[in-house]
Amino acid sequence: MIERSLSSLSSALAAGEISSVELTQLYLERIARLNPTINAYVTVDAEKSLAQARAADAQRAAGQGGPLTGIPLAQKDIFCTKGWLTTCGSKMLGNFVSPYDATVIERCNAAGAVILGKTNMDEFAMGSSNETSFFGTVKNPWDTACVPGGSSGGSAAAVAARLAPAATGTDTGGSIRQPAALCNLTGLKPTYGVVSRYGMIAFASSLDQGGPMARSAEDCALLLNTMAGFDERDSTSLDRPSEDYCRDLEKPLAGLKIGLPKEFFGEGCAPEVMALVEAAIAEYRKLGADTVEVSLPNMKLSVPAYYVIAPAEASSNLSRFDGVRYGYRAPEYADLNDMYSKTRAQGFGAEVKRRILIGTYVLSHGYYDAYYLQAQRIRRLIANDFVEAFKHCDVIMGPTSPTTAFRLGEKAADPVQMYLSDIYTIAVNLAGLPGMSIPCGFAGGLPAGLQIIGDYFSEARLLNVAHRYQQATDWHLRQPAALD
């Protein structure tokens, strides 16, 4: 049963082949057995999960419910979840039991989904390897000596190891797409404003966006149907009519115009990953798509601009962690300022501190124009590059990550090397566009991802483009060798 996709599990529940309680128990048993090795989950609470499963079974028995009713899901520990420990991967929130639900959690609960547990992540979503988590590194199920990617590394490892059929993630600079690529999953970062950020612990508010991580485009579409929607409690949520993201899955791809930015196909990408990406594009040509070269001339500036904008927003957002209203407080201090400084010194890890310091610096008097405003101007140039490119194509394709999963510890000591693992994903966040990663093959036994970027609000089209490829290939069905 755990080998089945979310959509197939949904049919099994509807047909009464299995109950949500039985399904939830299957996953909980597997988590108990494998999580000590993978460390994908930070918190599991069987009683709470089973109570939700019982309610879902009752709902189905009464002839009610929808596709997600009774489906167990892994929730990234960045989403505030009422009555659950919500740590965001940090010692700072190591004792924080949320008094309220994020909108994403509320919507999943309302759809009848079961929370299997909260997944490990880079501290405050700052990382590309899941090594900055206070709760230990997550192991990649394809090779436990390798990282799963980050920051949604726990969510990715959980789905890859069959510890959940699907998971939620968040993506500020690639945190859904890069771990999806490194763990052989399908992940979608929606257009900024499509999924509510209410109760999603903020890293960089103008870039953060929640989205689904699953084993197929079809499963992502089902989960996005539940996650997306206008929310008046998020001032940046977009008030638009709701969509059925499954509606175009089967549309033929004949005539699809794929833009290939020359900046994605130059140096910087491992040749074995590039070969897989090119093979995937050849497959798309077979499916009737045409390719056209496009250019994103400012793409190389996306990493520098991002490492000004994201830390600037983070330094402001994370000022709320002061030991007064929630979370960690230093045990000993002399006065109020000393309490703030010691609380934050002890509660935050090294990478989070680095980013707060960068952000504080670039926003400080005398540096604001040279760094922060300059970065925002470059952000505009990058967004304009995409506007120009989409005049010539329907979607853009390229690698998701320049390499397959790297080894634990390989880049942990060098922040700049770590930051460069997001060179292909960051521009999408700066522009606010939707982007996906789908499995496109293996190099040295490790999976690689094809990135598909669309114009604003083209999620249904992206899912269609991904789904048709998944009908013609079986990379997404490959599973890691037995972990038990």
């Binding site: 190389k300 201090y333 934050r344 101007r377």
Partner: protein, 95 residues
């Protein structure tokens, strides 16, 4: 450009993060590495380019001026390090 140890201490103070001398040293090295990456931006001529603060160029949505949330003070204070009589306690600020 490169930062000085004194600037690292100053920024840490502004951010209210206590930093030891050893930490300031290692942080300085990391920050200078990151800033050498960031410096690539400075060569770009952006005169006349409107700064982009947000992914969607939309005006802030306004709402009716009415109460929409219920008072959940007890629930929210239950997770605070220290409270008394509905107040958050901090070290004495005024003698």
């Amino acid at each position: 450009m490169s930062l000085t140890l004194e600037q690292v201490r100053r920024v840490a103070h502004l951010a209210r993060i206590e930093i030891s001398d050893a930490e300031a040293e290692s942080t300085l090295g990391h920050l200078n590495g990151i800033f050498s990456l960031i410096e690539e931006m400075q060569a770009v001529d952006t005169r006349g380019v409107e700064p982009m603060a947000h992914a969607q160029d939309l005006a802030q949505r306004l709402r009716e001026d009415r109460v929409t949330e219920t008072n959940r003070r007890d629930a929210y204070q239950a997770v605070a390090p220290e409270t008394e009589a509905g107040l958050f306690l901090v070290p004495k600020v005024i003698e």
